[in-house]
């Protein structure tokens, strides 16, 4: 009896060990597995809320709208409030149509390595393109399949001058949250939900 707690302790330890053993596949949740799931998504349409915190602003700027993605490189961000602006990224070209200001501009992503890498963080994650992500960022994956967090740290100084870190969170093949921390201290958090706006 005296030993019971010990035994109990032992059995608990065993149980814990068993649990750990059972959890081992989760710990071994691999980047390639995640990328595989993401790459399998042919298209997605979501709504988003993006909050931009900036030292230039007296209050955070909150953007609401929709996000549409089509495999492998078409991405459309449609801001509906507080102004109307549609940004289409396709085949390396960015077209911004601001309906509030009635102006359209387009530019090549390649014209700036930093902007290109920034856009690529989102595009390549959506497309499950690990090679492209790793060209620009050091990757770190944490969590389980149901709740993972992917940290992107810029490899090149050119990019690091602008972006400190990007943290993407999701569940299985769905991205739920993208947080960009700029070198200036500005921060934007985009929450993505499958519901239509």
């Amino acid at each position: 009896v005296k030993h019971a707690p010990g035994l109990l302790g032992c059995s608990r330890l065993l149980l814990l060990a068993a649990c750990l053993a059972a959890a081992a596949p989760a710990a071994a949740f691999e980047l390639d597995t995640l990328m595989g799931w993401l790459a399998a998504v042919p298209a997605a349409k979501n709504s988003f809320t993006e909050t931009k915190h900036s030292a230039l602003l007296s209050a955070p700027l909150v953007l609401k709208g929709t996000l549409a993605y089509q495999r492998p490189d078409r991405l459309e961000k449609n801001v509906l409030s507080p102004y109307e602006e549609r940004t289409l990224i396709a085949a390396g070209t960015v077209t911004v149509e601001n309906r509030t200001l009635k102006q359209t501009r387009s530019f090549s992503l390649a014209s700036s390595a930093a902007v290109s890498a920034l856009v690529e963080s989102m595009r390549a994650t959506l497309a499950g393109d690990r090679a492209s992500l790793e060209r620009h960022y050091k990757l770190k994956l944490e969590g389980q399949p149901e709740a993972w967090v992917l940290d992107l740290a810029p490899r090149e100084r050119k990019l690091a001058d602008f972006v400190k870190q990007i943290r993407i969170a999701g569940t299985r093949e769905r991205i739920q949250r993208i947080e960009v921390e700029e070198a200036s201290g500005d921060r934007s958090i985009m929450l993505v939900s499958p519901a239509a706006p």
Binding site: L56, L61, L63, T100, Q103, S108, S111, S112, L118
Partner: protein, 778 residues
């Protein structure tokens, strides 16, 4: 003249020439020496720009390294970035660009400071409530976009986005694609850079130093498997100089060795060979010295041309030695052949005299070299060789060639004339019916290997360096008037761009506004109190932090007091060098060069420009101008050829004093020239000026052969010796011509090929048309 005096004078002159050459010789390879003097102000600008304009100072640099999957390699982009960084610290370069923003940082800072004077966006409406509010809304959207991080640092001082507008203005239209943030070729296999040297394009020593610096800088940072290639006018000229020098040396060496071998075979003794070299060597030395003294410098092509001269000058001692009868004193030989020898020398000199009259420096050099060279060689043969040649050395029996009897296959003289006439007729027909007899491409006159030209073309088109077929020239008495005229021209051109008549244009006034425009922009800026109040109203309801735009208010207030900007203040920046390239001072005032791209209909563009009623605005088709240059060049060459032929004909008549005899001498030569041209026409070789120049030489040499064939011969022995001397002489000329014909330099190849083919024809026709000994005696 006593023999001693002749030899002493010869030695003295040789020493003087040698001394001068070793101290003062200046070699040049500037191809504009072979360009005609400009016939119009437009051509003057064209040639001026080719020699020292900004285009002549651009080095086009490519870092190559193929990628199996066709994607641009990140390591090439890094190398481009590192190379540009190193070179921009190097004092030899005015400006280095690879498309990188970071690289243009120096430019950006300067543009930023000058934005209220340079930006076309500075108009009164932009600084009203409506205009400012629109700018602020746009800035807010940009801040939240992927561009936000880049825009952010500039935003507080530039909410109206003038810097962005300027950057767009500067971006090259049709320029190279940016990949990985730097310029890349379309196929992604080459990272591209442009380096502008401070030294002008024709300063070849400075250019080769700059090229070496780029290579050194690259070798320190080169990624594995990547290679560096450099094109542009400077590197092309440097490589041309190397090629011409190498070719000149090689051709002379081959010619010398080949001719020595032939002479050795003929004389079977080294001594006559050694003495035979003296006239040629003296002629070359004298020729190059006189050219150097007269022109101040000697063109590399002139020196290479001297190789042909060796072949020609060796002929004279050959005529003398080979025709010296067995045991005959040279003085006696000279008494027999002296007159013919003199005529031979003078006809060649006469042909070259026409070149000396040319208005092109390069051709005149070739003419002077030939005249001095052959006359010096002739004088040495006539006066020095008899004095120096020991009697014994010619005693050894000369090789006997089977020339004594008519060669099998040679038609009897009575059939030869009609046969040659028929051949000449056919040749004339071939020449006149040829479609592409002339090579009118100016660039083919440059001594550049095709590979160098191709790289230059490729990089130029990929870098969007204007291929500039069409160029608008605007002229005015001073710079301010020209800039105002350019601004009016811009409105005309903008509407043509809108209509799709042209794809785009580059104009200095877009980057460097006139004083008048700068004044208008200054007037568009409100005073501090007004602007602060307007901004306050415009900011209503927008989430910008209070006081954020204080730098903007301060900069506008400062801009209102800035002095007027002059182009000199922009030196050393990308924008400054662009202005320097497009705005050129001339003796008569200022000229704006406006390269136009994507011209759909040149005639319509010309009409639109005329309709604009601006004076002194002119559309130039550079291809047409260049073609006109070449055509003018060709016309002059043909004229010179005509003058040369006429002079030779007169001289031959003066020497022979008989019309039939003159005709007998000239007929084979003219027929041979015609056959040469026909051969080129039929084999698809297009004629350039240099073929014509070489043809003059062929006429001179061919006349020599014909003269000797037509000289009265005394007996079978005399004729055999004459034939032998002609055989050896023509072989020598042929060898030196072939040495040039294998050259990598198009100019030298043209001369060599013409001379080689021409020598064969001239000798064959002279032999066929030669009168029999019987005819000569009668």
């Amino acid at each position: 003249m006593s023999r001693r005096v002749a030899v002493a004078a010869w030695l003295l002159l040789l020493a003087a020439c040698g001394g001068w050459l070793s101290q003062r010789l200046v070699l040049t390879t500037d191809m504009s020496a072979f360009l005609p003097p400009a016939a119009s102000p437009a051509q003057e600008i064209l040639i001026g720009q080719m020699r020292s304009g900004i285009a002549s100072r651009l080095l086009l640099v490519a870092i190559e390294g193929g990628n199996p999957d066709g994607a641009p390699r990140a390591d090439l982009a890094r190398a481009s970035s590192n190379l540009a960084g190193k070179l921009s610290l190097d004092g030899q370069f005015e400006n280095v660009a690879n498309g990188e923003r970071a690289h243009a940082a120096k430019d950006l800072d300067q543009l930023f400071a000058l934005r209220y004077r340079l930006s076309p966006g500075v108009v009164p409406s932009r600084f009203g409530v409506e205009g400012l509010r629109a700018s602020l809304q746009e800035s807010l959207a940009l801040l939240a976009s992927p561009l936000g991080a880049e825009i952010r640092p500039w935003l507080p001082a530039d909410p109206t986005g003038e810097l962005r507008r300027l950057a767009e203005l500067l971006a090259r239209s049709g320029g190279p694609a940016l990949r990985e943030g730097v310029w890349f070729s379309k196929d992604g296999a080459r990272a591209l850079l442009i380096a502008e040297t401070r030294a002008p394009g024709f300063d070849l020593d400075a250019q080769s130093r700059a090229i070496a610096s780029i290579r050194d800088a690259f070798s320190a940072i080169a990624p594995a498997g990547a290679t560096l290639r450099i094109a542009g006018p400077g590197p092309a000229a440097v490589s041309a100089r190397a090629t011409v020098e190498r070719d000149a040396t090689r051709s002379s060496l081959i010619a010398t060795l080949g001719i020595l071998a032939v002479l050795l075979l003929a004389y079977r003794s080294p001594w006559p060979v050694l003495f035979s070299a003296l006239p040629a060597a003296s002629g070359m030395l004298a020729g190059i010295t006189v050219v150097g003294l007269w022109f101040g410098q000697v063109h590399g092509i002139t020196v290479a041309f001297a190789a042909i001269l060796i072949g020609e000058a060796v002929d004279y001692p050959t005529y003398l030695y080979a025709q010296a009868g067995r045991g005959e004193a040279l003085e006696a030989t000279l008494a027999r052949i002296g007159a013919t020898l003199r005529l031979a020398v003078l006809t060649t000199a006469c042909g070259a005299l026409a070149m000396l009259l040319s208005s092109f420096n390069g051709l005149a050099q070739l003419g002077l070299l030939t005249i001095t060279g052959v006359i010096a060689a002739g004088l040495v043969t006539r006066w020095v060789l008899p004095a120096l040649t020991p009697a014994r050395i010619l005693e050894r029996k000369l090789v006997r060639l089977p020339f004594e009897r008519a060669l099998p296959g040679v038609p009897a003289p009575r059939y030869a004339w009609p046969a040659v006439a028929a051949c000449a007729l056919l040749a004339a027909l071939a020449v006149f019916s040829a479609d592409h007899l002339w090579d009118d491409n100016l660039s083919n006159l440059t001594p550049l290997p095709e590979e160098v030209k191709r790289l230059d073309r490729e990089l130029r088109s990929e870098l969007g360096a204007p291929d500039a077929r069409y160029l608008i020239l605007a002229r005015a008495a001073d710079r301010e008037q020209l800039l105002q005229k350019s601004e009016r021209l811009a409105t005309v051109l903008d509407s043509i761009v809108q209509e799709g008549g042209i794809a785009g244009y580059e104009l200095a006034a877009k980057l460097m506004p006139s004083r008048k425009t700068q004044e208008e922009r200054r007037a568009a800026l409100p005073d501090a109190a007004t602007l602060a109040a307007t901004l306050e109203t415009a900011l209503t309801g927008l989430p910008f932090r209070p006081g954020l735009f204080d730098p903007f208010l301060a900069d506008v207030a400062r801009a209102r007091t800035h002095p007027t900007l002059e182009p000199e203040a922009l030196r050393g920046t990308a924008i400054g060098s662009k202005i320097g390239a497009l705005l050129v001072p001339t003796a008569q005032g200022w000229v704006a060069l406006v390269p136009v791209s994507g011209v759909r209909d040149a005639a319509a563009l010309d009409a639109a420009l005329r309709k604009s009623a601006e004076s002194d605005v002119q559309l130039l088709d550079l291809k047409q101008e260049a073609d006109a240059l070449v055509a003018g060049y060709r016309a002059e060459a043909l004229r010179l050829l005509g003058i040369g032929l006429a002079a030779i004909a007169l001289l031959v008549y003066a020497g022979l004093r008989s019309l039939p005899a003159t005709a007998r001498v000239l007929a084979p030569v003219l027929a041979a020239s015609l056959l040469v041209v026909a051969t080129f026409a039929l084999s698809g070789v297009q004629l350039t000026l240099f073929h014509l120049v070489a043809l003059l030489l062929v006429v001179g040499v061919g006349t020599n052969y014909a003269l000797f064939f037509n000289r009265p011969q005394h007996g079978q022995d005399d004729r055999a010796l004459m034939l032998l001397s002609l055989g050896v002489a023509s072989l020598a000329t042929l060898i030196s011509a072939l040495a040039l014909a294998t050259s990598g330099t198009p100019v030298l190849r043209a001369i060599g090929l013409t001379a080689a083919v021409g020598t064969v024809y001239a000798l064959a026709l002279s032999a066929m048309l030669a009168p029999s000994s019987k005819q000569l005696k009668s």
